[in-house]
């Protein structure tokens, strides 16, 4: 399974998570969410309202090299400021938001701040708007293009953003949040991954789960149309 195919599984899983969302926000460096939102609008949820930091409801032709690429704003239906999107979330008007985590732990906490390795601080880029969005959006969807036991940990070293993720989508599986046990549980495992392999690459205990549904041909066609050059691979490589 090459990285493009793995990306497609992730995108399809993320798109399905938007089925009954009204408003979704996507921030910077969000290639897979970008494709997932386009796919969701085309296939699962035509009325989905899409908020970006460049404006409201873009209809871009292609996945850009940057998710703050000027051409996104050109295709928007209205202006809205970044701060106003945070306000929306604070008011409870954001259903889904896509948040990336350099470290993600069993409780759904995210670390995008820094790591301490052998007493040495490794600086990460920071959590952007994640702290507010994870805490206030109704259904935060986390994603991470890589899945290993340094990324998926029992407990993050710093909590940049805390909240209850609706889903966590990775190249190995999809987690959901178990409200009762207040932790991530595996919802589906991608077909190329064994439970053993998943456990080896995850810093907390994982459960067995059904195989992730294969993206349909027509989904892949939509993804290829929005990203003909395979920019989406960036996140997995």
């Amino acid at each position: 399974m090459n990285s493009l195919e793995r990306a497609n599984y992730m995108i399809s899983s993320m798109a399905k998570a938007l089925k009954d969302a009204e408003n979704v926000f996507m921030g910077v460096a969000s290639y897979l969410p970008f494709a997932a939102i386009v796919l969701a609008k085309k296939r699962y949820n035509p009325d989905l309202k899409w908020f970006t930091i460049l404006g409201y409801n873009p209809m871009p032709k292609h996945l850009p090299l940057s998710t703050v690429h000027p051409w996104i704003s050109k295709y928007c239906e209205a202006k809205i400021q970044l701060g106003e999107i945070f306000d929306m979330s604070a008011r409870g008007e954001i259903d889904c938001v896509f948040l990336a985590g350099a470290q993600i732990d069993e409780k759904g906490n995210i670390n995008n701040s820094h790591l301490i390795i052998n007493g040495r601080r490794i600086q990460l880029p920071g959590g952007a708007g994640g702290a507010l969005l994870h805490a206030t959006a109704k259904r935060p969807i986390l994603w991470q293009g890589k899945h290993d036991s340094r990324i998926f940990v029992k407990k993050v070293q710093r909590i940049t953003a805390a909240g209850k993720p609706y889903k966590v989508v990775t190249p190995l599986c999809v987690f959901k949040f178990d409200e009762r046990r207040e932790k991530l549980v595996v919802e589906s495992i991608h077909p190329w991954v064994s439970l053993e392999e998943l456990q080896k690459n995850t810093g907390f205990e994982v459960n067995d789960a059904p195989k992730t549904e294969k993206p349909r041909e027509e989904e892949i066609a939509i993804i290829d149309e929005i990203d003909p050059h395979g920019i989406r691979k960036i996140e997995l490589e």
């Binding site: 290639y31 690429h69 202006k79 906490n109 880029p125 920071g126």
Partner: protein, 260 residues
């Protein structure tokens, strides 16, 4: 008010608190940042929701003592390695915020109020590190988290158009630019083009920066390069890649050779 880049940058004292326009590689005051480096400014504090080339460059040349931001990166192109190294080596303090608290602090400053309540982000580690405090909600008896006002000395804005007094027009997303102008003591405008007043007035609905706190206006075509300034030019992706590969000597050459 119309002046040169050199003269405008001379207004910035060492130790100032600056806010930069744009976001990541979008409508950043890149030419202004290069001149800050050339004039060897020191001990600056830079505040921005999401910085890229601008903050990274200043960190590479030790112009900055503190960065207050939610995110510093080159997005898909890689990490902000000069920022990263400066923080890791302790030469720059990264006072981490979330983009939201940068905005809330600017709002409080813009409104002339000492602090502003925010939505509950209390589990994030930086809430304690930044010293954000709780207050009693006097209307509903709960506790509410707050952030203090932060008032920038200068907002440095790269706009598409301005008139000679500094009334400035932004096409496309504002990011925090209009807000930082309201909050700041002083504004410097670099603009792709200076246009006659009458021409700017014909586009009044995009002119949201009045000239009254603008201390300098400079015409700098491609002033956001290697970032973008739509509709005039896109990010120069090759130039960004090259920038990210530069060593110390290469960076020194970069700020001298990329003009303005």
């Amino acid at each position: 008010m119309l002046t040169t880049l050199k003269q405008a940058v001379k207004m910035i004292d060492d130790g100032s608190l600056l806010c930069f326009s744009g976001n990541l590689l979008y409508r950043i005051p890149a030419a202004f940042a290069r001149e800050l480096v050339r004039q060897k400014k020191r001990d600056l504090t830079v505040m921005k929701t999401a910085g890229g080339y601008d903050i990274d460059l200043l960190c590479a040349f030790d112009c900055v003592k503190e960065v207050r931001a939610g995110f510093v990166s080159f997005e898909g192109f890689g990490l902000a390695k000069n920022f990263r190294r400066a923080v890791e080596e302790g030469r720059v303090k990264f006072a981490e915020h979330t983009c939201y608290t940068v905005i809330a602090s600017l709002r409080a400053a813009a409104y002339g109020i000492p602090f502003i309540p925010i939505a509950n982000i209390s589990k994030s580690y930086f809430v304690e590190e930044r010293g954000f405090k709780w207050v009693d909600d006097p209307y509903n008896n709960g506790k509410v988290l707050t952030v203090p006002a932060i008032k920038p000395d200068f907002a440095i804005i790269h706009a598409q158009k301005a008139d000679e007094d500094g009334n400035a027009l932004i096409y496309g997303p504002w990011f925090e630019d209009v807000l930082m102008c309201r909050a700041a003591k002083n504004i410097i405008i670099t603009a792709e083009m200076i246009v006659p007043k009458e021409e700017l007035k014909r586009e009044i609905d995009a002119v949201w920066i009045p000239s009254y706190k603008v201390r300098a206006v400079i015409e700098i075509p491609k002033g956001a390069y290697p970032g973008c300034c739509p509709p005039y030019y896109d990010v120069d992706f090759d130039a960004i890649k090259e920038y990210l590969s530069l060593d110390k000597n290469g960076l020194a050459k970069h700020v001298e050779e990329v003009r303005p």
